[in-house]
Amino acid sequence: MKNENLYNYILGIADNSLILGQRMGELCGHGPSLETDIACTNISLDLFGQVRSYFQYAGKIAGDGRTEDDIAMLRKEREYKNVLLVEQPNTNFAYSIGRQFLFDVYHLAFLEQLQKSTDLTLSAIANKCIKEVSYHERFSSDWVKRFGDGTEESKAKMQEAINDLWTYTDELFHQTEADKAMVAEGIGVDVTKLKEAYYKNVGELLEESTLEIPESKWFQKGGKNGVHTEHLGYLLSDLQYMQRAYPNMEW
């Protein structure tokens, strides 16, 4: 492939939305209230919409006829490039909110920069996505505040989720080979530069929510290079089920 770095770079961005969208989609019909149910479904819907834009573009770049669905549903588990954070399960609603929040703060800052990409398609996609993602970030931040400063039970649950998910935050700022190549070409975002502001913003919101900022400096990584947690395989067996069981058909 001529533009392999660009292709891989797009997949690295889109896989986060794909896997997180799938996780949020699991909640549909089972939310704690009708309003939150609608909001979570809406976030999932936005993320899958973004995925389609990215993968349609990636398909064009690959130039061998592969479709958005081939890219989304017919790769092997080691070929998914999402960060470990987004594949973490919906243990309870505090985990779903915590995962969303820790990703949204990053996602928003990332898209702000991607808007400046010299690749006009990526910049246009970022421009469209940023409106949606600022809503996601508001939604998840509001719930972190409600839980942190709500009842004793909600505070404990939220703190536990943040503590457990914290270990996956550092990976957001790791660079892959494709990242480095794309940054050099002015197409990609230098994620290492987003780190400081990220921890500052997250820290402030946690403080406002009367939650503690985890002190642990032990972080997990691997997702960006296809080394995932055990959770991803099960998520993929749902995501890929129809394409695997009924190959080469149109739906």
């Binding site: 989609g25 479904t41 899958f48 749902d238 394409q243 009924y246």
Partner: protein, 318 residues
Amino acid sequence: MSEAQIKSLEKQFDERIARDEKIEPKDWMPEKYRKTHIRQMSQHAHSEIVGMLPEGNWITRAPSLRRKVALLAKVQDEAGHGLYLYSATETLGISREEMYEQLHTGKAKYSSIFNYPTITWADMGAIGWLVDGAAIINQVPLCNTSYGPYARAMIRVCKEESFHQRQGFEIMMKLANGTPEQKEMAQDALNRWWWPSLMMLGPTDDVSVHTEQSMKWKLKRKSNDDLRQQFIDQTVPQAELIGLTIPDPDLKWNEEKGMYDFGEINWDEFWQVVKGHGPMNKERMKARVGAWEEGTWVRDAAMAYAEKKRNRKEKRVV
């Protein structure tokens, strides 16, 4: 209020409905009118919410991104319908919590069709095409019902439902025109959903208990049997168009009557499911009650946070 006064109010009330005037929340209404509307409207809202489950079951496994997005949007629409139907019902003086309580304890019903399982992707097509198709036939007349908030909610619901129905039919059409395996999947779904869809339009007129009063209040404008006939006459040509066979050996066009004759409906099955013994009744209720109970701490936190915020604001003002 004296009996004579009530009689006179009732007379005026009936006259307003006869003149096609809308009844609004603050207007006087007979107690029976209020109760009947609470029953029917909350049942309708519950059906939307429980109805999210069989389709939600396929969100993670939708066969393409396009279908996944459409399915998510559809289930989200249903949640939205539930939301404004609950709100419309609240105007009659019952809270959403009370309505949930009635659903969770089995006091309130929801559409029995959602007690059938969705076991293949084709069921997403069959539900959209047949179940939403039957729902529209039931609901379009309600856009002109006498209670204002219900009528207005139904106008919006019906618009979205007809979009869902076309979407469902399109899923079926794609399958029916696909590989032999896909066509078989579509036919199998039609076989399983056809009869429950006919039952969805309610018991036959001779045993239907609520019809007469509901007709007067425009809560119902056609009888169950007429609605069922309309559904069959409308759906059979659609099945023919995409080359699927309606699973009824007695189905035959009756030239004289200008409508289809159809076979005997298994009403024993209908009553079994209505009484709580369908294939998925227990699971559906478990999912709803489970979501509500697991959500208690979430709702409590939201209340506590709002309360704290209010107190802080008041302190600042002082």
